[in-house]
């Protein structure tokens, strides 16, 4: 538009000099041609929709939720509209987090809490979501700007803070526990970790272990060609501190893992795929359809998607994790009873209508579920399939952490030690 107006100005100046009478008519035509696109652009700016009170399944072009509500008619989701009752916290609004936030916003999530301490930079433009005109804004503010335009029904809360500091952590914990502004739900239903470093993951892990809050972790490798998502239910699955970092567990030389230089690679594709896997898992968890993956890897070079489950470490170094494990063990009878009741209900439902009325070939299905599950349960705990051995020895008994014996060794109080250091500093 700006370009065209400049050209127009130039031609007007030319017109002043020339005496061609048809030139004025041509000029008029051009200006008239520019009026209608300008009007359309102005209309598009003003077209931000107003809030919608109830999600409608009506199939009309003007209904932003018609394709989502169709999930119900397709038999995938029982009650899609429940998504409006859910609150999700996204920690880290980078290549994965921002796309994840946009996906949930477009899905019509009830409330989104966004955490990041960074600002948008031009170096972020190889990823999705942020625009060059947002450079310099905090990532949370830029995200709120875009997301509120996409779907004004979503309640957005932005927290521009560093959660790894003591003060930031208190705010983080408080916001996860706080009631939503107008809803009756306490806290959040799911925390999504989309951060890019070990420190922040450990902090999210700490917060969720303390609150007993289910969360999902996501990550993209430094070389931008693989990633993973992981479901963490405190006490039930391994927490992020349950397994030691690779360098500690294996003693491998870290130089074999890292390339020289600080700058990591990133691709919009890998980040988009991981964000998609993460939000798909989150939707399955929240709206209760399909199977929620406990861990899903993505290797883009071979298009390999490994999955696995991880049990919590009874000797985890995180005390909150051990506490949640204890609670989970204590609630086992109740869970077993619930599972049994569910199985029986399903079995009775299945009995009512046989799958095949006639059985010409006398095929019968042997029930092996009892023996199979019990043998898996008993063996999985302490023995491995034939031919496999554990790499590290099993600890026979839990070694209590040694009590600090140094209380005698450091007899000075803190102030005295501070004075000693100050004396050294000033000498």
């Amino acid at each position: 538009m700006e370009e065209e107006l400049r050209a127009l100005l130039r031609d007007l100046d030319a017109l002043k000099q020339s005496a061609d009478p048809t030139a004025i008519d041509r000029m008029r035509e051009r200006v008239a041609g520019m009026v209608s696109p300008a009007a359309a652009a102005a209309a598009a700016v003003g077209a931000a929709r107003s809030k919608i009170k109830d999600m409608s399944a009506e199939v009309v072009d003007s209904n932003p939720y018609s394709r989502l509500m169709a999930l119900q008619r397709m038999g995938i989701v029982d009650n899609y509209e429940r998504i409006r009752d859910y609150s999700v916290a996204i920690v880290g609004i980078g290549g994965v987090g921002s796309v994840a936030a946009e996906m949930l916003t477009r899905c019509g999530i009830g409330r989104l809490l966004l955490y990041d301490y960074d600002t948008v930079e031009l170096a972020n433009m190889n990823r999705l979501f942020f625009r060059p005109d947002q450079v310099g804004m905090t990532k949370t503010d830029a995200a709120v700007q875009t997301l509120s335009g996409i779907n004004p029904d979503v309640v957005l809360e932005s927290y521009s803070l560093n959660i790894t500091t003591v003060k930031g952590f208190e705010t983080f914990l408080g916001s996860l526990k706080a009631k939503s502004a107008h809803g009756c739900n306490t806290g959040v239903d799911l925390v999504l970790s989309c951060v890019d470093n070990y420190e922040a993951r450990m902090v999210v892990n700490q917060a969720c272990n303390e609150l007993g809050q289910t969360w999902m972790e996501s990550g993209v490798s430094e070389d931008a060609v693989s990633g993973h998502i992981q479901l963490l239910v405190p006490g039930e699955t391994a927490c992020f501190a349950c397994a030691p970092p690779l360098v500690v567990a294996s003693g491998v030389d870290e130089r074999t893992l890292k390339r020289e230089g600080v700058c990591a690679a990133s691709l919009p594709t890998t980040m988009g795929v991981v964000a998609g896997l993460l939000i798909q898992n989150a939707l399955k968890y929240l709206l209760k359809f399909g199977q929620v993956s406990p861990y899903l890897g993505y290797n883009s070079l071979k298009d390999y998607f490994p999955t696995m489950e991880m049990k919590p470490n009874p000797q985890c170094s995180n005390p909150a994790c051990v506490q949640r494990q204890k609670e989970y063990m204590q609630s086992k009878p109740a869970r077993d009873a619930a599972a049994k009741a569910k199985m029986e209900a399903e079995a009775s439902a299945a009995d009512e209508c046989p799958v095949h009325v006639d059985n010409e070939w006398n095929i019968s299905v042997l029930d092996d579920s009892d023996t199979a599950t019990s043998s898996i349960l008993s063996t999985a705990a302490d023995s491995l399939p034939e031919g496999l051995v554990r790499e590290l020895p099993t600890a026979d008994s839990y070694q209590e952490p040694i009590a600090p014996v140094t209380s005698g060794a450091i007899d000075d109080d803190l102030e005295e030690l501070q004075r000693q250091l100050d004396a050294l500093n000033s000498s």
Binding site: E199, L246, V248, Q315, Q399, T406
Partner: protein, 223 residues
């Protein structure tokens, strides 16, 4: 800025590495010290011997752990006092650090590096992270922010390759003193010469500083 935190491998529950066998406290401490030195493969002998003289810490406690944190803080002070004394005795004094709040969760000071007989001094600061000591402190040199790519946002020096794995292997035995000795010192030794030679960092005398400041820095460099 993208950072990798993916060095995390999943292992089934019963694989935690614990030290067995060492019964006496003295033997345990000696074994820990030996393990700490052993984990420093590839480091120069001078640094190794200095690390051997910094007392190791034993309390696994972070800033939210109340009395256990006070105990950890005492151990931090003890290690810092020994390290500073060792440096002074070896005429290798190179930093000043003190807690900036009563809780000991924020630390501020200065550090300096001598290159071509001139002393370059930088303000130094960091917060103790919530997940400390499992997570190492992120040391910041705010005046160098944006001057080198060996840095994360806010002037946090890059410790990823040369220090973080060492810290992880020696948790909770390493403390602030170790982070300075094994994290910041090698970073300064590697980066300051490059920053000075490329003109990114200028000596304060060359920036038209007042005369008394120049004199002060001259005497400090000589001492």
């Amino acid at each position: 800025m993208p950072r990798a935190g993916e060095n995390h491998i999943p292992i089934a529950g019963n694989t935690k590495v614990e030290e067995h066998g060492a019964k006496g406290e003295g033997r345990r401490a000696a074994a820990a010290a030996a393990a700490a030195i052993r984990s420093m493969e590839g480091w120069d002998r001078g640094t190794k011997s200095v690390v051997g003289e910094i007392p190791l810490l034993s309390t696994r406690a972070g800033p939210r752990d109340g009395d256990a944190w006070r105990q950890r803080l005492k151990e931090e002070y003890r290690a810092l006092i020994s390290y500073t004394s060792v440096n002074k005795s070896k005429d290798n004094d190179w930093f000043r650090i003190s807690a900036a709040n009563p809780e000991g969760t924020r630390w501020e000071g200065t550090c300096w590096y001598v290159h071509n007989l001139r002393r370059y001094e930088f303000p130094l600061q960091f917060d103790i992270p919530v997940a400390y000591p499992q997570v190492a402190p992120e040391i910041e040199l705010p005046t160098l922010d944006g001057k080198t790519h060996k840095m994360y946002r806010g002037g946090k020096i890059c410790l990823t390759v040369h220090f973080k794995p060492l810290w992880a292997k020696n948790c909770p035995r390493f403390g602030i003193a170790h982070a300075l000795c094994l994290g910041l010192a090698p970073w300064l030794a590697a980066e300051v010469p490059i920053l000075v030679d490329s003109g990114m960092v200028k000596h304060k005398d060359d920036e038209g500083a007042p005369a008394e400041a120049a004199a002060a820095s001259g005497s400090a460099a000589a001492s």
